[in-house]
């Protein structure tokens, strides 16, 4: 019985957790320019993330160690430094963008410029991490994150052509503006497949004391959660395709994005969009700060847990404190949140190989996973994702130059 509660919680967490500043921004930008055409990229990203999360969750449940633990233990410190640095830098960039997202939401609501919100947001986020337990953080953001369902409602109310949408779920090439098409595709993938997501998921499995009995919970949570979450991102793309594309509105500023729900949902639309942006980005802020702190603590062997009082894991709690304040600084200084988001998504996509390729080794290591090593389905998926990550690494820089804003 308790397991079903855990599954429900995990799924709900993923629904709200999937949508955050990166997914919202890239899906809406994609829909505004290319109508439904880029939907297949979201399918690819969602499926990849689902597989990666199931795997890092399985690692934790079977070996009782997180993915970060295993990166150090099975590959040695010398190798570990590489993913450590890559994930640290990239995730910090994304963390900054998420704080930017919350700040923009508050600006849209109040008219007070986003830069003034940066520090208050960091402080409140810090306070929640300082005083809250893992369950509180997980459940709180999960429940509130359900407001993101607004996009699904909005999309349906706009009466999309389901046939066209269905066809768009299959890969296609652009008939015009190739550079921009592939640039947005890469940034969508970076938004969907973020290392902090599957690293955090792995750490969360240990915080929640998962054991081998949780393997099916893990599979269902990773699968269903991302299915719904990805569906929401597609819903955001659909609303932009039906509201912006016909009018020739391209998205250059966050202020424009907010209009996307004002058409199908009227007055409630703007309010719900602001709430969605605010809550999902805030949840991601907490998640990323924790994810980086987990990576540091687990890699170096410090005492760590969100369930411990900060005094008991000083280095861990100092880490997330410093990180969240540091990430607020660029926003407080007025950095353009949308450009920052787009950049951080592309950089994320390029950084994937260092956290995907080691999984090829770990998921087939009998010493780590016993009889629960990858079957042929998981391995095939992992090889495809690994190849994708290398393609993204190679393509990222040229696309940023040619197709970026």
């Amino acid at each position: 019985m308790k397991k079903w509660g855990e599954i429900a919680l995990g799924v709900v967490t993923s629904i709200g957790g999937f949508l955050e500043v990166g997914s919202i921004a890239t899906s809406v930008q994609g829909g505004a320019i290319f109508h439904f055409q880029l939907a297949w990229v979201l399918v690819l990203g969602t499926a990849s993330l689902a597989f990666l999360m199931e795997m890092t969750g399985r690692l934790a449940a079977v070996s009782r160690r997180t993915y970060a633990d295993l990166l150090r233990e099975r590959f040695g410190y010398r190798f570990f430094v590489v993913p450590l640095l890559a994930v640290f830098i990239v995730s910090l960039l994304v963390l900054t963008s998420e704080i930017g997202g919350v700040a923009i939401a508050l600006q849209l609501a109040t008219g007070i410029a986003f830069r003034w919100w940066a520090i208050p947001i960091a402080l409140i986020g810090w306070l929640l991490l300082w005083r809250g337990t893992f369950s509180i953080v997980e459940q709180g953001t999960a429940m509130l994150g359900l407001v993101a369902l607004t996009f699904a409602v909005g999309a349906v109310k706009l009466h999309p052509d389901w046939g066209t949408l269905g066809r768009a779920l299959l890969p296609s090439t652009p008939s015009r503006d190739s550079a921009r098409y592939w640039y947005i595709a890469v940034s969508m993938l970076g938004a969907s497949i973020s290392p902090y997501l599957y690293l955090f998921y792995s750490a969360g499995a240990i915080e929640d004391a998962w054991t081998i009995e949780y393997l099916s919970v893990n599979r269902i949570t990773a699968g269903l959660g991302n299915l719904f979450g990805g569906g929401l991102a597609i819903a955001a793309l659909v609303t932009a395709a039906l509201v912006f594309e016909p009018r020739g509105i391209q998205v250059d500023r966050y202020e424009q994005i907010a209009l996307v729900l004002a058409t199908p949902l009227g007055r409630a639309g703007l309010v719900l969009f602001i709430a969605t942006l605010c809550i999902t980005c805030f949840g991601s802020t907490l998640e990323i700060a924790l994810a980086i702190a987990y990576l540091l603590a687990q890699g170096f062997g410090w005492q760590w847990s969100e369930n411990l009082k900060p005094g008991k894991d000083a280095r861990f709690s100092t880490s997330y404190t410093v990180l969240i304040v540091l990430a607020a600084v660029p926003i407080a200084l007025g950095a353009d949140p949308l450009q920052l988001t787009n950049l951080s998504m592309v950089v994320t996509a390029a950084s994937l190989p260092v956290t995907v390729i080691p999984l090829l080794v770990l998921m087939n290591d009998g010493d780590v996973l016993d009889t629960h090593v990858n079957g042929w389905i998981s391995n095939t998926a992992l090889v495809v994702i690994a190849l994708l990550s290398v393609v993204l690494l190679v393509a990222a820089l040229p696309l940023q130059l040619l197709g970026g804003g």
Partner: protein, 126 residues
């Protein structure tokens, strides 16, 4: 106890003290060579300098230079005799106290001088 694979089961493994408190990872292992005696695994080293050296000489040298620039002299390293190993499993348990470890200096310093100044940091569990 059967054979222990040093590289796979010891180096980089999580260390815990008598009370299952995490105290870092095995950053280096020192062998001891005494004349007339066989080589044996003598010491577990926990410390940033040892870690840095494993990445490479250039890495360790850069780290030393940066610390010198910042005026940081002290190296807080723990050298624990291998005989203190109680259990080798998912984690390696050592017969030591976290409080007594030099390598935990920063953790204690942060706890005493920074964290505890902020309300809500200590006391009963969350």
């Amino acid at each position: 106890m059967g054979a222990v694979h040093l590289a796979y089961e010891v180096v980089d493994s999580q260390l815990v003290d008598r009370h299952e408190q995490k105290i870092g990872r095995v950053d280096a292992l020192l062998l001891e060579a005494e004349p007339g005696k066989p080589l044996r695994v003598a010491t577990i080293v926990i410390g940033a300098a040892a870690r840095a050296r494993r990445v490479g000489g250039w890495f360790a040298a850069t780290r030393r230079a940066l610390r010198a620039l910042a005026g940081i002299r002290a190296e807080h390293e723990s050298r624990i005799p291998f005989s203190a190993v109680r259990r080798i499993g998912d984690t390696i348990q050592l017969d030591v106290e976290e409080r007594a470890l030099e390598s935990e200096h920063f953790e204690r310093w942060l706890g005493d001088h920074v964290i505890c100044r902020i309300p809500g940091a200590s006391g009963a569990s969350k």
